[in-house]
Every structure is written in C-alpha cells, then in structure tokens.
C-alpha cells in the first residue's frame, strides 16, 4: 500500500509538472518535425533509389516511411521520457523531500522501487499513447504490419521502456542539482536519437561510428522496432521482384532493420537477448546502488 502510494505520488508529480511533462516530449517532437521537414522525404527518396525502375505505389512508400518515423519516435521516447520522469527523484534529493522521507519508517528500497516503477509506468503510458497514435497513422497512410508485428512492437516498446527506465534510474541516482538534470536532459534529447540510430540509419554513418554504435545495447532495441514497423512494407515491395529476398535483405541492412556487429548480421533473437540481458544487468546495478549506501549507513548510525 505504501509502495502503491509512492508510485501514484511520483506519477502525479510528473503529469502535474507541466515543465517536466513537456520537456520529456522535446526529443520526440524534434524527431517529428525533422520527419515532416525533410527526413520523411529523404527516406522515401532513399527507398525509391534502391528500387530504381520499380513501380512502388505511394501507399507502400508512405507505410515504409511512417514505419521508420514510428519506430524511431518510440525508440527515442522510451529513453528520453524515462529520464525526465526520473527527475522527480532528483528534485526530491535537491530539496529536503528525500531527507523528509528518511525521517519516516519507509525503507530505502521502497523509495527506490517507487521511483523505478513510477518512471516505468509513466514512460510506458506515454509510449503506449504514441504506439496507438502510430497504429492509427499507419492505418491511414499504409498498413503493412501483421498481427505478429503488432505484438512484437508492443514487446519491443516494453523492453525499451525497461531499458530507458533502468538506464535513467542509474544516471539520475548520481544527480543532485538542477544543472545536472538540465545537462542530462539536453544530452539525452539531442544525442540519444543519433546514438541509437533513430534520426539517421547507422548504416548511412561512417563505418567507424557504426561499429562504435553497435556496442550500445539501445541500438538493438531500435533495430527490432524498425524491423517490426517496416519489415512488412519491405517484404511487400520485394515480393514480386526477381531476387526479392536479396533486395529485402539489403534494404533491411540499409535501414537498420538488421543490425551488424563488425559486419556480422545480428539475428533477431540475439537482439532480444542483448536488450533483455542489458535490462537485467542495469536493474541489478541499480539495486546495488540503492542497497550499498543504505547498508553502510545502517551499520554506522549511532555507534557509540
């Protein structure tokens, strides 16, 4: 009951703090405007140039580009919203609120769980709204997702939300000032989209950068979303072509639906394994961070 109230309190603080709420939407909004301004056109042109001479109906092209937008948007949102939602924890530490919690009998692990679950719920809620809006958008411009794709996009989103929540919980554990929050928000909003391959396909970046980014686990989560949002459209385009499988594979590689680790294509199951193990490791690290200072303190307190 106490944990439930802590979670509700943290969620309410996020949604009632307009500054916090809107700042978490900066990265997705940037991405949306980039898409409307030129990225959408770039992806459509790229796709058409790959299939030069092939007649592709506009609904298919729009479905493909829309799939890119939605997968990128969700990949960025899952992390940027989690970072902002976790600002509730940093703000509590900045003010005397966290100290105030500590004079009550509430356990440190309950506080830590309260922040973690609230961040996960808030991020999941906002991403779920984006996901539903995305499905509606794709249904209008061009729907090429199978039932399995829909289920997998939901699974990918949940995994990325857990990844974003765990990563932000660890980073925010070390933040104690408004300056720190702002710096992290700016970095996450501006840089994460590039780092995870949401703004530009990693395949289109320099080889060294691509290899470096392949070490980041978030990249594999983004790749899964790309595949499940765009794979249907790619298969549809290539279905009637001679050597369609080869075209489909090349297109997938060019648009990060398949990601390579040092020129070796990483299979889908491996992507799931990488992102899942990363989530487990990050949660473990967070638990260690939460538990360690508490144990030390309880040993030392009030020794005569």
């Amino acid at each position: 009951m106490t944990l439930k109230d802590l979670i509700v309190r943290n969620c309410k603080l996020y949604f009632k703090d307009k500054g916090l709420f809107f700042s978490s939407l900066i990265a997705p909004i940037i991405l949306f405007f980039l898409f409307v301004a030129f990225l959408g056109g770039v992806y459509k042109d790229s796709l058409l140039s790959v299939f030069e001479g092939v007649e592709i109906e506009s609904r298919l092209v729009n479905g493909f580009a829309g799939g890119w937008l939605m997968s990128s948007l969700l990949a960025v949102s899952a992390v940027s919203i989690a970072f902002t939602a976790n600002c509730v924890m940093v703000q509590d530490k900045m003010t005397d609120r966290y100290a105030d919690f500590c004079v009550s009998p509430v356990k440190h692990y309950q506080l830590a769980l309260g922040y973690y679950i609230a961040t996960a719920l808030v991020t999941l809620l906002v991403c779920s709204v984006a996901l539903v809006v995305g499905y509606i958008y794709l249904a209008i411009v061009g729907w090429y997702l199978t039932f399995t794709d829909v289920v997998l996009t939901i699974l990918d989103t949940v995994l990325l939300v857990l990844f974003g929540t765990s990563l932000s919980s660890i980073v925010c554990k070390f933040l104690k000032s408004q300056g720190g929050i702002t710096a992290v928000e700016v970095i996450v909003s501006a840089a994460y989209g590039f780092l995870c391959g949401a703004y530009m396909p990693i395949a289109s970046l320099a080889d060294a950068i691509g290899k470096t980014l392949s070490f980041l686990p978030g990249t594999y989560g983004t790749s899964l979303l790309h595949e499940h949002f765009m794979g249907g459209a790619i298969d549809e385009i290539c279905s009637g072509l001679a050597g369609g499988d080869v075209y489909a594979q090349r297109t997938r590689e060019g648009f990060d639906c398949v990601i390579s680790f040092f020129d070796n294509a990483v299979p889908e199951w491996a992507c799931y394994l990488i992102i899942s193990i990363t989530v487990v490791l990050l949660i473990g690290l967070y638990i260690l961070l939460v538990a360690s200072p508490w144990k030390k303190r309880s040993k030392k307190v009030h020794s005569s």
């Binding site: 309190r9 309410k12 004079v103 009550s104 009030h302």
Partner: protein
C-alpha cells in the same frame, strides 16, 4: 520522565567538529529550545536524532529506545517540520497528507479518521482540494505542521520553523504549536536563532561551535547571565545622578542595569521620589546569548559582528 536522552554525541566533518561531545535530556511534554547561530550544530544534532545521518560517537535514546536497532519505532515517535517546506507544490493538500500518512502505514478508514482530525485541528477544510503551490506562506506552514503530525507523534521537532516567514505567519505558527502543547501535551523540540521564541521555552540549551555552553530555564539563564533593568519615565538625567550609576537613554526614558530584583527593590525604597513612573524587567535572551557566547545573532541566524 526523559523522552530524549543524548549522551556524548559527536559528529565531525574532517577537522570541523559540528557536534562536539554533547549530552542533554528532554522531558516528556517539555518545550525544549536549541539556541545558536548558523553552524552552531543545531541542525546536525536534529539530523542525527531523526536518523538522517550517522553520528561519529555517542548515543541517542528516544522514549527508552536506542536509535541503534530501533530506528523504525523511534521514527514513528517523531514528527519533523523542516526549515523549508517539503510539500509537493503541484499536489493538493489532501494528497500531500495522504501520501505522508501512507509512509506510516496509515490507510483506509484509519486515514479517513486521521484526515478528519487534522482538518478540524488545523482548519483545513477549505484547503484540502487546493494545490499546495497556490497556498499562502502561512497556509503552507500550517499544512507542513499538520503533515508532521499525521501519524500522531509524541515529539514534534521544529527545525527553525519560522525562518524567513513574515511576522503574521510566525505568529500563526506559534499559536498552532502552543495549542498543540496545551491540547496534546506534546513534547516540542525547537531549534531556533530567534531569541523571543527561545524565551517562551521550558528549557533552553545554548549551542556554539558544536558544544553546549548553557542548559537551563530562560529564567535561570536570565538570572545567571544578566541582571534586571529599571526603566525610568519622567525623570531627568540630573535627578537620576543621585543613584551614582550610569544610566542609558532609551527613547524618552532612562535605563539602569542592576544585579537583581532585590537590588532594584532596595533602590525603590531608598529613592521613592525617583520612582514616579517606572518598570523593572528581566534581562533579555539576547543579553543572555551575548554573555554566554560572546556573539549576537542577526535576523538570518548568522553571527552578527559587534
């Protein structure tokens, strides 16, 4: 009966001795004041007492229980009002109280009964649905105190509760605290740098540089460290010269410091014609503090150069 017992408490930050081997007790139902300039060690002591930070030595016993091993039980006996408000500004007053109560395991029917009690005690019915961010300073402080009492603690710790508040709000805070003491016989542990607040306490401990310099009732402190003052109205400086002591002009009156009330009475009997319009007052806590520490406190709690 002692509700708080602190023995040889120490807290060092490198070379700085924030709390330097202090011992004192607080009786159940007592209004206890910790008086000192900023950095004297008041808040550090409170912080240790509440279990927020570890001590480097010594022991804290509250209601017969050592903090070591009974932290949760001890915390249930404490209600703390910090210098700055810890309310969540975007949330309503009711939410703030509810989530605080939840930390003490107060839910459901028990919570509703507690809310009703607090609403009546602090006159909160008009404020419950309003976001804290839209309340005035005085209303917010009222909610802060209500929140500290949400679990019916036995000890109310007020850590400089009126610093930075306007006189009217300070007055309203104190009327609530005095009412609580009267109605609930609650132990109040106050840290302050306001002399007039400490003067109302049952017992005052003066802290400086992490050490206790004085521990007594305000009256004992005044009798020990200051004399009495006779203020003469309507008497001229020439007339007062017969007293053979230097008098200080205070507005239209003259003030004479004497050792004690007995000496004042002696003067009244010896020079009745001078005592046409006069008053005899005890020294103030400012004088006590100055004599004890050699320092005076500014409005912000910082040491004031003299």
């Amino acid at each position: 009966m002692n509700i708080i017992e602190i023995e040889h408490l120490k807290k060092y930050y490198g070379e700085v001795k924030a709390v330097d081997d202090i011992s004192f007790t607080v009786k159940k139902g007592e209004f206890f004041a910790f008086l000192g300039v900023n950095g004297a060690g008041k808040s550090t002591t409170i912080s240790i007492l509440c279990g927020r930070q570890p001590a480097d030595g010594g022991s804290v016993t509250i209601d017969g229980m050592s903090l070591d091993g009974h932290a949760d039980e001890v915390k249930r006996r404490l209600g703390v009002v910090f210098q700055s408000s810890v309310l969540d500004a975007p949330l309503t007053v009711a939410d703030n109280l509810k989530y605080r109560a939840s930390l003490y395991g107060i839910h459901g029917e028990k919570w509703r009964a507690q809310l009703e009690k607090l609403t009546e005690l602090f006159d909160l019915s008009e404020l419950l649905r309003r976001p804290v961010g839209k309340l005035s300073g005085g209303q917010r402080r009222r909610v802060d105190i209500a929140r500290a009492l949400v679990h019916d603690p036995e000890i109310l710790i007020l850590d400089e509760p009126t610093t930075g508040l306007d006189p009217q709000t300070r007055q309203s805070v104190w009327s609530i605290v005095h009412r609580l003491r009267k109605e609930r016989e609650m132990t109040v542990f106050l840290t302050t740098h306001y002399m007039e607040e400490a003067a109302d306490a049952d017992r005052v401990v003066i802290l400086d540089g992490g050490k206790i310099l004085a521990d007594a009732t305000p009256l004992e402190l005044k009798n020990t460290y200051t004399g009495d003052y006779i203020t003469f109205y309507g008497a001229s400086e020439e007339e007062l010269a017969v007293l053979g002591a230097s008098v200080e002009r205070v507005g239209e009156a003259f003030r004479l410091e004497v050792k004690n009330t007995a000496e004042a009475t002696e003067l009244v009997l010896k020079h009745p014609k001078l005592f046409r319009d006069y008053e005899i007052t005890k020294g103030k806590m400012d004088d006590v503090f100055l004599r004890v520490t050699g320092k005076s406190i500014g409005a912000t709690g910082a040491e004031e150069k003299r």
